[in-house]
């Protein structure tokens, strides 16, 4: 999407949507939103809206698809045809194939797969509306859905993208900032373990910018994971409906 005439950093130093460079968009998280799935979550960052569902541990669909000492993870990141301005073909694109891998590899380090040998744990992520940061929102939704499914995990993961627009590092970029900016750096990790589980950079940064962007992302991921914990506590302790 190209939007002409949008000033990404306004004269007052705020971003095109009125946020400061270090601000997240309004975030909404909800768990247990689907009846069939073993665990599910809906996560919104601004207009980005992502649904995740977990099935399993269960028998893998094909017998040969197993590991004797652990569960396999099967992860699909997929965008709904109506999630974008131009209709997205429902067939998996090369981008979606890559992101499915990158998201699986963001979850592998934290799921205790060794507790369920010879099984499959399936994570299905559907982007219902894409407005930037869909992969990191997907990781966040997957983390909540795994917890909601009662899958043992070492820690919760969360994700956010830091961008560079008009030379300024900005947190949690939306689609306009992503498509017109100079860099997009999605990061995901488990703050409780001090581990980064997803890191990509599309764009150009100096070493100093990269370090600062990493710190901005890390600080935000702490806050995002704290929100995840709060949502799960509310759901399971304080007046939440039991599943």
């Amino acid at each position: 999407m190209k939007v002409e005439g949008v000033k990404l950093i306004r004269e007052d130093g705020l971003r095109h949507d009125g946020r400061r460079p270090e601000d997240l968009r309004p975030i909404r998280m909800e768990v247990g939103v689907l009846s069939n799935a073993d665990g599910s979550a809906l996560v919104e960052f601004g207009r980005t809206r992502v649904l995740a569902a977990v099935y399993g541990p269960r028998e893998p669909p094909q017998k040969f698809m197993l590991l004797p000492d652990r569960a396999i993870l099967r992860v699909r990141y997929h965008m709904a045809p109506f999630s974008t301005s131009d209709r997205k073909s429902p067939a998996p694109s090369r981008r979606e194939i890559e992101l499915s891998k990158v998201i699986r590899e963001a979850l592998e380090p934290i799921v205790l797969t060794k507790q369920f040998p010879r099984t499959a744990i399936d994570v299905f992520i559907e982007v219902l509306q894409a407005d930037g940061g869909t992969r990191t929102t997907g990781v966040t939704a997957a983390s909540l859905a795994l917890a909601d499914a009662g899958i043992p995990m070492k820690a919760l993961v969360g994700g956010v993208a830091v961008g560079k627009v008009e030379g300024v590092l900005v947190l949690d970029i939306d689609e306009v900032e992503d498509s017109m900016g100079e860099a997009d750096m999605p990061v995901a990790g488990a703050p409780d373990l001090g581990l980064i589980t997803l890191l990509q950079l599309n764009g150009v940064m100096t070493e100093e910018e990269f370090q600062k962007a990493l710190d901005m992302a890390w600080d935000a991921i702490r806050r995002i994971v704290d929100m995840e914990k709060e949502v799960l506590r509310w759901k399971y302790n304080v007046g939440g409906d039991s599943k």
Partner: protein, 285 residues
């Protein structure tokens, strides 16, 4: 859908321990190099005469060929004043017992997309100069990566092969005819090079046990659970990053890997320069 690999090469645990213990002492399983040094690297240009540009990269025993083909086509709707760059990778089954014939899997797609982004984001090829008639006819540059022998670190070898093939490329002869169509004669190469603005390499750093090492060979990759790929241009700017693999990294490891990548990058730039220098060991024939 991405699935945890369930057909992995089996590495004996003794061998794994040996690799990890050597690395803890600053040594490598494949002989005389330290954690900071890539394997011997050699770039050969012009290996396929029918391609507009081509290169063969040997990084240790890993071999990757890259071919550049060019054609006239339509620009993308949102970039009418830019040529088109496309990167594609084939994990050819002759390269490894792990590769099966068939459409590119997630690893081949990831590799191609990382190379593509590393070239695109910094504007390594000036696509604005590859326009014949804005909005209508532009040059389409295809980079096809062909993995011929897989002994680890396909990212660095592929990036180097792509960059070398782009630098080797010469525009094919073309002319506009009365109907407004453009005819390209792929049999005739001009002297005109592609507009290359930046040279880019990637340096892959693997975490093996508790230690980091650049340019892992296949055996090292098999016992490593996470790799970080840094794309760097000649001025040391970071022009792409990809974490790949099932493991995770601490912040300090991410930054230490960057320092290692910056230290190793000149080795790849030098191999590129040597290939391009006439009468050099890898000069095109």
């Amino acid at each position: 859908m991405s699935v945890t690999p369930f057909r992995l090469p089996v590495v004996a645990s003794l061998r794994k321990e040996a690799i990890e213990e050597l690395l803890a002492r600053g040594l490598r399983i494949d002989g005389v190099r330290d954690p900071f040094t890539p394997r011997n690297v050699r770039v050969e240009l012009g290996v396929v005469e029918k391609a507009e540009g081509s290169a063969l990269v040997k990084l240790g025993n890993t071999q990757v060929m890259a071919g550049v083909k060019m054609d006239v086509g339509a620009p993308f709707r949102d970039t009418p004043d830019q040529g088109v760059l496309t990167v594609h990778a084939e994990f050819v089954p002759l390269a490894s017992p792990l590769f099966e014939p068939g459409p590119p899997d997630e690893n081949a797609i990831e590799l191609a997309r990382v190379v593509d982004r590393s070239l695109r984001e910094v504007g390594a090829v000036d696509l604005g100069q590859l326009v014949i008639r804005p909005g209508d006819k532009v040059w389409v540059v295809w980079i096809d990566l062909y993995i011929l022998d897989h002994d680890g670190n396909l990212f660095d070898a592929s990036m180097l092969a792509a960059m070398a093939a782009l630098l080797d490329a010469r525009m094919p002869y073309y002319e506009e005819i009365e109907t407004g169509d453009v005819i390209v004669d792929h049999g005739v190469k001009t002297e005109e090079k592609l507009p290359i603005r930046h040279r880019v390499v990637t340096v892959t750093v693997a975490k093996i046990g508790r230690n980091l090492a650049v340019d892992p060979n296949f055996e090292e990759e098999s016992v490593s659970d996470v790799r970080l790929v840094y794309a760097l241009d000649e001025s040391g700017r970071i022009v792409g990053i990809q974490k790949s693999g099932e493991g995770a990294l601490k912040r300090e490891e991410v930054l230490r890997a960057l320092e290692m990548a910056k230290r190793a990058a000149p080795v790849y730039f030098k191999a590129l320069e040597e290939a391009l220098t006439p009468a050099g060991p890898g000069a095109s024939g």
